[in-house]
Symmetry: C2
Subunit: 360 residues, 2 copies
């Protein structure tokens, strides 16, 4: 039996994926050269589509790497001489912070309790900070940083570069690209693709910083330094043989998203989020994982559960519906429910009905 | 019309791929968690299969990264304090050497002309060398380093770690794992998979070197340091969300290879190589790209062509057969023909007949 996965990544494949995979087979996409014209048009189709979908300005570059985890590393290597600042409110923002420490930088963190988040006004950011790392959507805890708060951070710290991890929320948030310098995501979350591709969007300030570090003789890597990536991206290529298959599929799903319309996707996301949070508000078994309503994620709904999550998942899985467990030490204490474009309003309704039936 | 690709990577998909992709869709492999039991068994299935196929001893680890290009970088970062040595006889071995330079190491190269190669007796390897980097099969030039020569390098330099790039030849070469310390490959060559996965095989000496460098406080990376990779590999996982889809497909193709038998695969490779080299030896249009018969690749057959390769490819492509062009500045002067397991004896026969017909 085919199940509907509400897990937050890897997650439910977007419904059109099987037909795009068939097309990839028919067109022998797994075989074509990554230095040929056909690949260049696949690359351009994907980046043009993303530019439309997310309203990315022309002066931002779009690069393909192997994962968002890799992008964390490349950001620190390419853009931090010494001082990075991190808002840490969950396991993934913590890992990003740790990468900076492991690479020998002076990393400063603002720390929030698991399930809490940040307002710009509360942040004490050291003046020598070169980059500010914000996690717009913490996949582990279900806490978001509202875009309005991200914008306020920038207005108080105009010199530092602002990097936004939106791994599990893009394309939902409407970022102001005059404010942020870079944002990145992976395709196995809201785009409903198999894992194995990270997308890095960055502006000329980021490029200038990477070039300045290289000019100073700082070692910033090899094939995936920003200048190396750009030298190929200008020809719609990558330095290495990339995950061609996934770049093709991403372009196809982005085309589907654009046909549907980003406003419709955002509206449906709002509708499903409201359904899920309304249910949690009334439940006697589940409670909000995030107390502050303004910081509750739109795309990763987290709930505390008084019944161990393993039992909940087992019961629902028998009906073909698979919610995610809590993250790490919260595994049994929480459930996480993806609110991604691959999940329809009807799917969400079915999940809520099943939860209500078993846990009135 | 579906074409048969003799390009050397990405290359012809292995014929069973469509059915394995259908199985991946049916089993929702694109959706499953990379922290769950199902993924662990997929990981184990792939590594167990590779162990059988390549006779990899139990004390060697098998790790998954995003590409062989990434593996070059991780080798230098993790295993070179200062001194690396490289046999450079083509574009890919040169790039590996350059990675070491870019990371600030003292990299020494032995250089052979394009189309030439190395014998162990000719190498002058400095005594302080920490790692020796050998390219068993140069995809750009079609030059191999025979396994017997690799073994001689080791006997003369027992302290240095030996890393072997076998990106476009594995599973053909029969390596002696008591001699080499590490070997690596990508899946889009002889395994006939879509690109986006590199496989790194390494022994305890390599691990000890990486650990010793970390213990000295040397920065060796973040999520893909060898200790970080191993901490997850022991549970059949990876630090990041990997290309789950490709790990699944690799396990399936390796299973096919094992059913067929490695000896049959090697024998067929020998047969096809002989057919192609015999043809080149008699041709008036094509000549051997590699003069020294002992150094001619078994899996990547390169020929000089007196007719521009673009014309040759165009003519053959019209008949559904696609040889590869030469590499970089040799693009028009050479053709490259993959002799990978996805290409049958019949396919090779068809290619030779077409070449004979047009270029008698």
């Amino acid at each position: 039996m085919s199940k509907t996965f509400f897990t937050v990544g890897p997650s439910q494949l977007y419904p059109t994926l099987p037909q795009h995979i068939q097309e990839a087979l028919d067109k022998q996409i797994g075989t074509i050269s990554h230095r040929g014209k056909q690949f260049q048009s696949i690359y351009k189709h994907a980046t043009d589509g993303l530019r439309t979908l997310l309203s990315i300005p022309e002066d931002f570059e779009i690069l393909f790497l192997s994962s968002a985890t890799e992008i964390w590393e490349r950001i620190i290597e390419n853009c931090v001489e010494q001082h990075s600042f991190h808002c840490v409110n969950g396991s993934f923002s913590k890992r990003f912070y740790e990468f900076s420490v492991e690479l020998g930088k002076t990393a400063v963190q603002a720390k929030a309790e698991f399930g809490s988040g940040f307002y710009a006004a509360d942040l004490q950011i050291p003046s020598q900070t070169e980059i500010i790392c914000l996690t717009q959507n913490e996949t582990s805890s279900g806490v978001k940083m509202p875009v309005s708060e991200i914008n306020k951070v920038k207005s108080k710290h105009s010199e530092a570069l602002i990097f936004v991890d939106a791994v599990s929320s893009i394309p939902y948030p409407q970022f102001d690209f005059s404010v942020i310098d870079s944002v990145f995501f992976s395709v196995q979350k809201c785009f409903g693709l198999p894992a194995g591709l990270g997308v890095w969007i960055l502006n000329k300030r980021v490029i200038a910083k990477a070039e300045a570090m290289l000019a100073k003789g700082i070692k910033t890597g090899t094939y995936h330094t920003i200048p190396s990536l750009l030298s190929k991206a200008k020809d719609f290529q990558t330095p290495e043989t990339p995950n061609v298959w996934n770049i093709f599929l991403l372009g196809k799903v982005v085309e589907d998203f654009n046909k549907k319309g980003i406003e419709v996707i955002r509206k449906e996301t709002d509708t499903k989020a409201k359904m899920l949070y309304d249910f949690l508000g009334k439940s006697s078994v589940f409670t909000y994982g995030v107390t502050d309503a303004a910081l509750r994620s739109d795309t990763t709904i987290v709930a505390n559960t008084s019944v161990p999550s393993g039992e909940v998942i087992k019961k629902l899985e028998a009906e073909g519906l698979v919610p995610g467990s809590g993250y790490s030490s919260y595994k049994e204490k929480q459930i996480r429910i993806a609110n991604f474009p691959a999940i329809s309003i009807q799917d969400t309704e079915s999940l809520i009905q099943a939860l209500q039936k078993h846990y009135a």
